[in-house]
Symmetry: D2
Subunit: 217 residues, 4 copies
């Protein structure tokens, strides 16, 4: 099975504005060459220009579970969809939401035809998130985020536990992923792929880092 | 004195995506014809395309007081600036922030060359917000937002109180503003202009509503 | 089956301080006379004195999912337990929590030997909450809270849906409950009882209101 | 001038429940012996029993800016006052509030006859907080909290800056305070005293630590 690689651009200098377009273009090239699906996740302000430049799926980092209306400073799913987004993260560890908000955001995303990835921190919240029927859950033990220690190696049983708890909902895993062997291990543990960030965005050569991720395919 | 008119697009259908560009274009035309400065405030996802189409200032509805880094789902001032924003609202009543966040956001905006409008709900928070030295404070009594009853008429002493409390920082007023006479009254109470939303965005003919706002000039 | 009646004191004048003790004493009397289990839920500041005066279970309105440590202004499960609490609400609609916080609070409560009632707003969040294995979930459609229209009448299928979704976890229902017939209906729909507030706390004669709730037993 | 010593009990095991009463009793003894005013700040659940046992002022760690009503899980100023509190911290760095909430909490506290200490993180937020007219502002640079490095030594100019910015509102300083010389330095920099926590609560001998704090008086 070919993995799904979801690249969270966060708010790094290396993946903001013109750099976001450049990184998305690199991901697009590697996706085409390898046949692996790569999803890029730039900031809301960058989605429009990134989506015009690449054909791979562009996801948002966060949406609010709102409808059209008076919600100053919120992220409206329909605005992202019109700007070119095709999906969104929900409840990333750096942007946690209340349970009722996660549910509302998941439903609002579907209404706007955005695929959803609900992020979770452990097996029990993965089970809860999966019960809301998103397209994916992405488990990321907070203590490993940005650590360089891949969750698939540090804590494989949290990944297999999440896959079991998700009861059929597709699972991604994240935290500490930077190499092809980490992706391979994630797939072998039953996930569909990985969610990663600094391993690519902060790499000296991001395109080479992306090629390394899929070299094993 | 010519007023400053700040138009908050919120997340209304009438001011999202292509509609945001259309409304900004109308504001641009009225600004040019009247000589009044109009600022448009679309959603983060729409700033890039709006800023490419109009020459009037484009502000954001919210920023986070962050720097480049790992802040998934946050609004980075530098990303907005690169997308074309020239300023931002901070602490709108629909997106309230902690005091320390307002301070951080105000400083982060200045670092990214974004003008700042800190929104407040009464005289005492106006004084507190003004002490942080933003470019503007905008007082909007929450009970009047979207009411159609202009703050300049319902509660003129909260406006004059805010102007006094701001100790030299420029003041806008908002809530219930929809007509030229409301703008005129706001100026006469000592403000630099108004912050408004549904009075324009939800008007049957937004361009006519904008012309009405500045007819008295 | 005898119902469980959980009385949320909120921050009403009628159920704060000495009034909290008085109301808890009334509930204690009615519980003893009727054989129905009544749980009283005063504010954190009132738990100590209420728990000294009554033998019925005293629950807290909220806990934070924390351990002993540096958490100024938080509600520590162990402090409540030592003050006399035997359980707690989690994620009440007036005090919503992030998903990861609900999970942490549920685990922290169990560590401190506090029973848990996770509050939810609809069927899908009930399913998610139940997957975290609390002692109870309590479904309260927000639009009916304080309405005087009992959820068991206005929306019986949300109650039966919640019971089905909870997959064995015990369910309470709330919102608009004020009479014995509402409690009876709740039981007939498959719940263990009700969570209510103003129907008792704001009643002209709270003890009479409590007796009315269990008259059908 | 005799200093004011405010001891934040946080949620440490050493200052919860019966331990809170014990620590407050020690503070009471040292206050009486030294003539220094000591304020103890236990958790909400502990205020009732602490206030019954000691005559020194008992403050809360947090209040919500609410009135009597439907606010499940919130901290009502009137409930704290009835339980025996005479003041409260507001906006502690571990329990930050929105600007409008700080203003509302400060006003709600005064309505309930609670003295207020608004906590701040730097000079500019101190100026903003002071403009709301609390009884005290307490500046605590977050990077020094729990560090053991006293703010009066690490960053004296932030303390003198806060005193100047507070424009007559009394100032406390905190972060890293554990010794009498730190208190002395704080007074010499223009403050009324200190806000401290682990330096006392986690001391091997808290009473001795308290005596050390006031030995210079």
């Amino acid at each position: 099975m070919k993995p799904l690689i979801v690249i969270n651009f966060k708010t790094y200098a290396e993946s903001t504005g013109a750099n976001a377009v450049r990184l998305a273009t690199a991901a697009s090239k590697v996706a085409e060459d390898s046949g692996v699906t790569m999803v890029v996740v730039p900031q809301a302000a960058d989605i429009f220009q990134v989506a015009r430049e690449v054909d791979i799926p562009v996801y948002a980092q966060h949406i609010d579970g709102i409808q059209f209306g008076g919600y100053t400073g919120h992220i409206l799913p329909e605005a992202l969809a019109e700007a070119g987004a095709r999906g969104t993260l929900i409840n990333h560890s750096e942007r946690r939401l209340e349970l009722a908000e996660i549910d509302a955001a998941n439903q609002a995303a579907k209404r706007a035809n955005l695929a959803t990835i609900i992020c979770t921190n452990n097996v029990s919240t993965t089970k809860a998130a999966a019960s809301l029927c998103p397209d994916f859950v992405a488990i990321e033990p907070p203590e490993l985020i940005g650590s360089g220690i891949p969750v698939s190696k540090a804590n494989p049983e949290v990944v297999t536990g999440a896959v079991a708890a998700a009861m059929g909902v597709k699972v991604l895993c994240g935290a500490g992923i930077s190499k092809g062997e980490d992706v391979k291990a994630a797939i072998e543990l039953g996930t569909q792929g990985v969610l990663l960030a600094s391993g690519v965005t902060k790499a000296a050569d991001p395109e080479a880092a992306l090629r390394g991720l899929v070299a094993f395919v």
